[in-house]
Each structure stands twice: as structure tokens, then as C-alpha cells.
């Protein structure tokens, strides 16, 4: 029984990291007022780049760096369209998602299924010896530990630093921020690109650690789920963890049922659950919002900024 719980918990964490990293990146972009629907594409491109560099014999750090750079480049494209050209952010994000998907499918065709780097679980000394908890939390891949660090870091930057202050200012009230002299454009660019970096890293996690190797559309909608989880998190990194764990938990259940052969719930229902749950979460958030509890959505989200004159 305990073993089952440990197994499920461990896989829950494993399965949630991709969504989590992408969601934290998206929180930064949206906090600054940029809706980035291209996360799925950025994750895919990141995953492919990481896998390809690994396959070519590059060291893991280079693979990670490459994946993040690929995500950043696509994010830069989105930033250029939605900030500089003031294009419709929905369409620009969709275009990025399609483009990223296409690029990864096209360029990744030759290396489907081949595995270069496999970031195996790396038990942390001492910590992993703690009963139950050690096995669940500290017998994971290095990227999981990195995510452990990124969560508090992101929250700290966003809520306890001057940079975070500026980011929130730009996303909530770009006009006021501009009037006191904050560079709205620069901050939005930085946040969008940071979002792309984390999406790329999330992709790398999938292709280097979670299910090593490149597979077409291997994100299977995790980028979109990440965007929904951002709404669920009310734009706070800690609550995004909760959302990501929900997603990871459902995935872990699938593994558990598969591994044990128990089928309490039919597999195809389990497969659907992450998506349905995400929709349910969206309804819940909107319902709470309607009831007067204002979801703290950045007020300038999706609104291009332009100072006339």
C-alpha cells in the first residue's frame, strides 16, 4: 500500500514538471501583459533541440541550453509580433504554436525514436534516505531539482523584488507604468522571452528526462494545459505547482493502472481526464470570479500598449 502511494507520488511529480516549468514561464509573460498561446510550439521546439543536441553527442548542459535558446527564439518572434507590431496576440500565439509544431515535426523526422541523453534519476545524498519522502521527492532527475529551485525563485522575483514590481506594474496598468517612465516594451520582451526559455526547458525535460528521445507531438497538449494552469494559479507560481500536480497525478494514475493491471477507471477515460480536469478548473476559477472574488488576472493581459503622439 505504502509502496503504491510512493510509486504514484513519485510519478506524479515526474509527470508534472514539464507543465510546471512552462506554466511558470507563462506566468511571467502574462504578468507583464502578454498572452502567449505559443507555449506548445515552444515546448516542442525545445524538446527537439535538446534531444538532437544530445544525440549529436553534446553534453547535457549544451542540450538544455540549446532547448532553452530554441524556446527563447520562438518567444522572441511572438514578442516581436505582439509587442512591436501590436498584432492580435491570440493569432500570433496560434501561429507560433503551429510553426513550432511544424518545425519540430519537419526537422525532427530523421531522429524519431533515437535516444542520446537520458537524464536518469539522481538520488540526492542524505535527502533521498529519508523514508517515503526521500523516495518521492529526492530520487528524481536533476531537472526536477532545478524546478524545485525555480518555483521559489520565480515567486520571489515576482513578489519581492523591484523587477517583479515592474513586471506586475506593466501588466496591470501599462499606461500608468509608462507615465512614470517604466520601459513597457523592454519588460514585456524580457518576460515573454523568459517564458519561452522555461517552455523550452520544459520541453527538454520531456525529451531528456521524462521520456527520453524525440517523438512527434510528444507534448500532447501540455503547453495548452500549462496555459490553463496559469489561469488556475491566479498567476502565482506556488499555486501553479498545485495545478501541475493535479495534472501529474492523473498521469501517474494511468501508469499505476497500467503497471498493476487494475482498471478501476477505463484507460480512455483516464487519458481524457487531464483535459477535462483542466476545463473544470477553468470553470471553477471563472465561477469564483463571477461570485465577486476577483481572479487577479493582469488587467492589461492581451492589450497592446501604444503611446500616441
Amino acid at each position: 500500500m505504502i509502496d503504491d502511494i510512493v510509486f504514484i507520488s513519485q510519478i506524479t511529480i515526474k509527470s508534472s514538471i514539464g507543465v510546471l516549468l512552462a506554466a511558470i514561464g507563462e506566468i511571467f509573460a502574462e504578468r507583464s501583459g502578454i498572452l502567449n498561446l505559443g507555449v506548445e510550439g515552444m515546448m516542442l521546439v525545445g524538446a527537439l533541440t535538446g534531444a538532437a543536441i544530445g544525440l549529436a553527442g553534446g553534453p547535457p548542459l549544451l542540450a538544455l541550453g540549446g532547448g532553452m535558446l530554441a524556446g527563447a527564439l520562438l518567444a522572441m518572434l511572438h514578442a516581436f509580433f505582439s509587442i512591436t507590431l501590436r498584432a492580435d496576440q491570440t493569432l500570433s500565439g496560434l501561429a507560433i504554436a503551429i510553426l513550432g509544431g511544424g518545425l519540430s515535426n519537419f526537422l525532427g523526422r530523421p531522429i524519431i525514436g533515437e535516444v542520446g541523453i537520458r537524464l536518469k534519476a539522481f538520488p540526492l545524498p542524505y535527502l533521498s534516505d529519508i523514508p517515503v519522502i526521500g523516495e518521492i521527492f529526492f530520487n528524481q532527475s536533476v531537472l526536477v531539482y532545478l524546478a524545485y529551485l525555480i518555483i521559489p525563485f520565480a515567486s520571489y522575483v515576482l513578489f519581492h523584488t523591484r523587477t517583479g514590481l515592474k513586471i506586475r506594474a506593466v501588466g496591470d496598468d501599462a499606461v500608468s507604468a509608462d507615465v512614470i517612465g517604466i520601459n513597457v516594451t523592454a519588460i514585456r520582451y524580457c518576460c515573454t522571452i523568459f517564458g519561452g526559455i522555461l517552455a523550452g526547458l520544459g520541453g527538454c525535460y520531456l525529451s531528456l528526462a521524462y521520456t527520453p528521445g524525440w517523438k512527434e507531438n510528444m507534448t500532447a497538449g501540455q503547453g495548452w494545459i500549462a496555459i490553463a494552469m496559469v489561469i488556475f494559479s491566479l498567476w502565482s507560481p506556488y499555486r501553479a505547482v498545485l495545478g501541475a500536480l493535479l495534472f501529474g497525478g492523473l498521469t501517474a494514475l494511468q501508469f499505476f493502472f497500467q503497471a498493476t493491471g487494475i482498471e478501476v477507471i477505463p484507460v480512455y477515460i483516464l487519458l481524457m481526464l487531464p483535459y477535462l480536469l483542466t476545463i473544470g478548473v477553468l470553470i471553477l476559477v471563472m465561477h469564483l470570479k463571477k461570485g465577486g472574488k476577483d481572479g487577479k488576472s493582469p488587467r492589461c493581459l492581451g492589450v497592446p500598449f501604444h503611446r500616441e503622439g
Binding site: R162, L165, K166, R168, A169, D172, D173, V175, S176, A177, D178, V179, I180, G181, I182, K296, R307, E308, G309
Partner: protein
């Protein structure tokens, strides 16, 4: 007077000009402000006051002319640059970031001006300045939770922390409660004593007389009068200066006998769902054959009242009688929208659809009246719009022209034509001539006057001249209540309207 010709002006505008595409917002602006001087800027809506102030504060860049600060030519590329040179502005719509605390707001402003200070140091500075100028505020509160008065104090502190010497206020008292207004005046006079220059935009003559040293009056983007306050003897003088010399009615207004009562509002309070009602206990009636104006300074509840009477929002309390049928405030909203002709204030977004052509715009609110057919009657739409174009002399290439391409005046005539084509019992117009030129204004006025024959007319306006020119009766609104309803023929009472609008009682 504080003005000393020998001193260097804090600010000097020389031939400043600003255009937005084809629209000239400001032209030939020459203006000076000296240390320790309070300059009041007066002018009607759309006269270009706010644009001018935004230029001085570095938010917009001028298309021509120069601005000198302390005698040195300066080109402001951003508000932060202007502020670091000592010029700061408190906008009408306060520019605080609601989700941040007061101290954080001020910190960010300092940061953007290149000063890297800690939050603690900023709080210290805030307290120091707050004590000195009477701007008490809790620096740790979220800006979103502040009252209007507190917001304003935070805005002023934001500028003072950056050692601003010239402070610009855009209608600083428009949204303040009376005690806050008093307090604001005290702050301003203390700033003046310290040698700061102050510019403020206002509609309230009372205030001008109370604190200004000098006034400048803008009309159509130009300064038409600049004078010192000692040359103005009374409010009436000032009113004449502001409205122009032609206070006499230029519109021919034959008297018409009033007929049946169309709308009777009794004890209306609303709108529903707001914590503080925007309007309270409103009662009046309008008859066919008369024009009732509801006049007031912006922000005194007229806009909200207008929405409820138009059945777009629901009221809380009170009753509305329409053509003999009684409605309570809640049911009214679901019943009457299509039977009221209404010219809304925002003619570009609410009153028309910029991306659709004139014939289609002419149908916007007349869809129900245009018969039961499932299909659009293009031929009829075409003939309707042609008639309207001729009748109201709307200048346009064709009925296929997009509404967004019409000038403001022609667009307003189109909306007017459409609403009047409904042949309504009740006709409501909201700020119908705001931002229009003289000739368009006259045409709109003529049309409204003519409609009196067939409808009861309810006119919401902030423009005293408009109210005087058109109305049979004028209801003055202040802080959500109708203070008094004055008969337009009563010359003595009419003189008091300006004071009533400013909340100056009897």
C-alpha cells in the same frame, strides 16, 4: 501678485503645436508659468487642455514649437525625463498602479528617474514630505483601496519625491469629496509658498477665483485669453470669458405648448449592484413639447443616470412612468430599450460601428422597427440613408462610406437622424455636441429643437451654453442628486446655474 517679470519662468511654451493625424489638438501655444504662481487653464471639453498638459509633462511630443524649463530649451522624450527636470503631472484619471502599495508606486517612479533607493528610504521621504505639505497617507496600503482624496495625495507625493517644481493637475477636484477639496487647496497653497509653479485645469469657476493667480482660456486648441485674476471681478465675468461673449442665445427657439407627460421619474436611485449609488433620489418629469436638460460637471452621476433611464442598467429604487405605464426600477431595464431614441455620448464606439457603412449604421438601432422580414431590405436601407443624408446635410461620398471615415459632426448627424427616424416619444441626447465645431453644433441643436414638436426631449450635458440655448427647464445635478430644477425663462435663477454645478449651493 507673485508674478515677477524679471524672474526666469519655470516653464515657457513657445509656439507649441500638436496634431493627431488630420486633427489639430493644439496650435500656437505660448504660455509661461513662474515660480510661486498658480495658473488655471479653462476651456470647454475638447478644447485641447489635456493634450497641452500631456505635452508639457512629456507624454506626447509636440509637432512644432519648443518648451523651456528654467530658461533652458528641453525636449521631453518621456514623462520620466520631464519629471527628472522637475515637471510632473497628476492626471485626471489617476495613474497609480492599483495592485501595488503607495510606497511601491512611488518607488517605481523614483527608480524610473534613475534613483535607486530602498523601500525604507522612500517611506522615510514620503513621511517627511507628507508632514511638510499635509499629505498624510499610509504608504503601505494598496493603491486600489485608497479613496480619491488619498489617491490624489499619493500622486502628489509621487511627484514631490522626485523634487518636482512644476506640478500640473488635470481637473484635480472633479472626483473629490468637499473636505478633500479643501485639503487639496491647502496643499496647493503650501506648494506655492515653497516656490513651486502650479498649473491646473478646471471647470469650476469658484476654484479659479479662490486659488488661481492667472488664467488661460483655451478654445479649439488655441489660447484665446490670458489674464491675471485681479482683472476679473466676479464669477459672472469669468463665466463670460470662458463661454465666450455670445452668452446670448443664437438659436431661434419658438415656444411650444407642452403636451402629455412622457416620462416621469420618481425617487430613482442606482445603479443596481454598486456600493455607493451614483445617483440618489432622482425625480423629474418630461412632457412632449419640452426639452429638459440635466446639467452637471462630469462625474456627478449624470452618465450613470442616463444609462438607467435608457434601460441599459438597472436601478435600485424608484419608479419610472412611461406613457402612462408604470415600471419599477428593476423591470424597466428589460422593457423599453427599443422605444427610446438615444444619442449616446461615445459616438465612435457606442453610437456607431466604425467598420460598417452608413446604410448599415443607419439601421443599427432600428432593426426591430424595420419590419418582420428575416432579410435586410437593402433598397429600403439605401433610400432611408439617402433621405437622411439629404435632410441632415451629411457630407459623404456615398452610403457605402464607412462610418469611421466620417468627421465627428457628420457622424453625429447620422446618429441623430437614425434616432429621430424612430419617431420616438422620448428622445435622449447625451453630450450631443461634445467636440463638434460651431456649424455642426448649430445643426445638431436645430434638429434637437425641432424634435420638441413630437417628443419629450431629455438632454444630458455638461455644457452650460448648450443647456441655456436649448432647454425649457434645466435640472442641475451635483454629487448624484438633482439640486434644483430651474425654468430657463427665469433670468435670475439661470445666473446661478454655474454656481450650482460647482456645488456652491444657493
Amino acid at each position: 501678485m507673485t508674478q515677477n517679470p524679471a524672474a526666469t519662468p519655470l516653464l515657457a511654451c513657445r509656439g507649441v503645436e500638436k496634431r493627431f493625424g488630420p486633427v489639430i489638438a493644439n496650435k500656437d501655444i505660448n504660455l509661461e508659468v513662474f515660480p510661486g504662481e498658480i495658473l488655471a487653464i479653462l476651456g470647454e471639453n475638447g478644447a485641447g487642455k489635456s493634450t497641452l498638459m500631456s505635452i508639457i509633462a512629456g507624454r506626447y511630443r509636440p509637432d512644432a514649437g519648443s518648451i523651456e524649463i528654467n530658461g533652458k530649451a528641453s525636449l521631453f522624450v518621456s514623462p520620466a525625463k520631464a519629471l527628472s527636470l522637475g515637471v510632473g503631472m497628476v492626471y485626471q484619471r489617476f495613474m497609480l498602479m492599483d495592485t501595488l502599495t503607495v510606497a511601491e508606486n512611488i518607488l517605481l517612479a523614483a527608480d524610473a528617474c534613475g534613483r535607486s533607493v530602498s523601500l525604507r528610504a522612500i517611506k522615510k521621504e514620503i513621511n517627511l514630505l507628507a508632514n511638510r505639505y499635509g499629505l498624510e497617507i499610509d504608504a503601505d496600503r494598496q493603491a486600489g483601496s485608497l479613496s480619491m482624496g488619498e489617491r490624489q495625495r499619493a500622486e502628489i507625493l509621487k511627484l514631490l519625491v522626485q523634487s518636482a517644481r512644476l506640478l500640473i493637475f488635470d481637473e484635480p477636484t472633479a472626483v473629490l469629496a468637499p473636505p478633500d477639496v479643501e485639503r487639496f487647496f491647502q496643499v496647493v497653497s503650501r506648494l506655492k509658498e515653497d516656490g513651486c509653479g502650479i498649473i491646473f485645469i478646471t471647470h469650476k469657476l469658484e476654484e479659479v477665483l479662490k486659488i488661481a493667480d492667472r488664467i488661460a482660456i483655451l478654445r479649439k486648441g488655441r489660447i484665446i485669453t490670458q489674464t491675471t485674476l485681479d482683472r476679473v471681478s466676479s464669477k459672472r465675468d469669468l463665466a463670460r470669458l470662458m463661454v465666450g461673449r455670445e452668452v446670448v442665445l443664437r438659436v431661434d427657439k419658438p415656444t411650444i405648448a407642452t403636451k402629455d407627460t412622457v416620462l416621469e421619474v420618481c425617487g430613482l436611485t442606482g445603479p443596481k449592484g454598486s456600493m455607493q449609488p451614483a445617483f440618489t433620489d432622482i425625480s423629474f418629469n418630461v412632457c412632449r413639447g419640452e426639452i429638459l436638460s440635466i446639467i452637471g460637471v462630469a462625474g456627478n452621476g449624470q452618465a450613470s443616470l442616463c444609462k438607467t433611464i435608457n434601460a441599459q442598467t438597472t436601478g435600485q429604487n424608484g419608479t419610472i412612468q412611461f406613457l402612462g405605464n408604470s415600471f419599477d426600477a428593476a423591470t424597466w431595464a428589460t422593457r423599453r430599450q427599443s422605444e427610446i431614441a438615444y444619442v449616446p455620448e461615445d459616438r465612435h464606439h457606442a453610437g456607431s460601428v466604425a467598420g460598417m457603412d452608413l446604410a448599415e449604421n443607419f439601421l443599427l438601432t432600428r432593426l426591430e422597427q424595420s419590419g418582420n422580414s428575416f432579410w435586410l431590405q437593402h433598397a429600403r436601407m439605401e433610400s432611408d440613408i439617402q433621405t437622411a443624408v439629404q435632410e441632415y446635410s451629411i457630407v459623404t461620398h456615398s452610403s457605402r462610406t464607412l462610418a469611421g471615415q466620417l468627421s465627428g459632426g457628420n457622424l453625429q448627424k447620422l446618429i441623430l437622424a437614425r434616432e429621430l427616424a424612430k419617431n420616438p416619444a422620448l428622445f435622449i441626447a447625451e453630450q450631443p455636441t461634445q467636440g463638434l465645431d460651431i456649424s455642426a453644433t448649430e445643426e445638431v441643436w436645430q434638429a434637437i429643437l425641432a424634435q420638441r414638436q413630437f417628443s419629450a426631449v431629455l438632454l444630458f450635458t455638461g455644457d452650460l451654453k448648450e443647456a441655456l440655448s436649448l432647454s425649457d427647464r434645466i435640472a442641475v445635478m451635483f454629487s448624484g442628486r438633482i439640486i434644483e430644477i430651474i425654468n430657463a425663462g427665469d433670468a435670475d435663477s439661470v445666473g446661478r446655474i454655474g454656481l450650482l454645478m460647482a456645488g456652491a449651493g444657493g
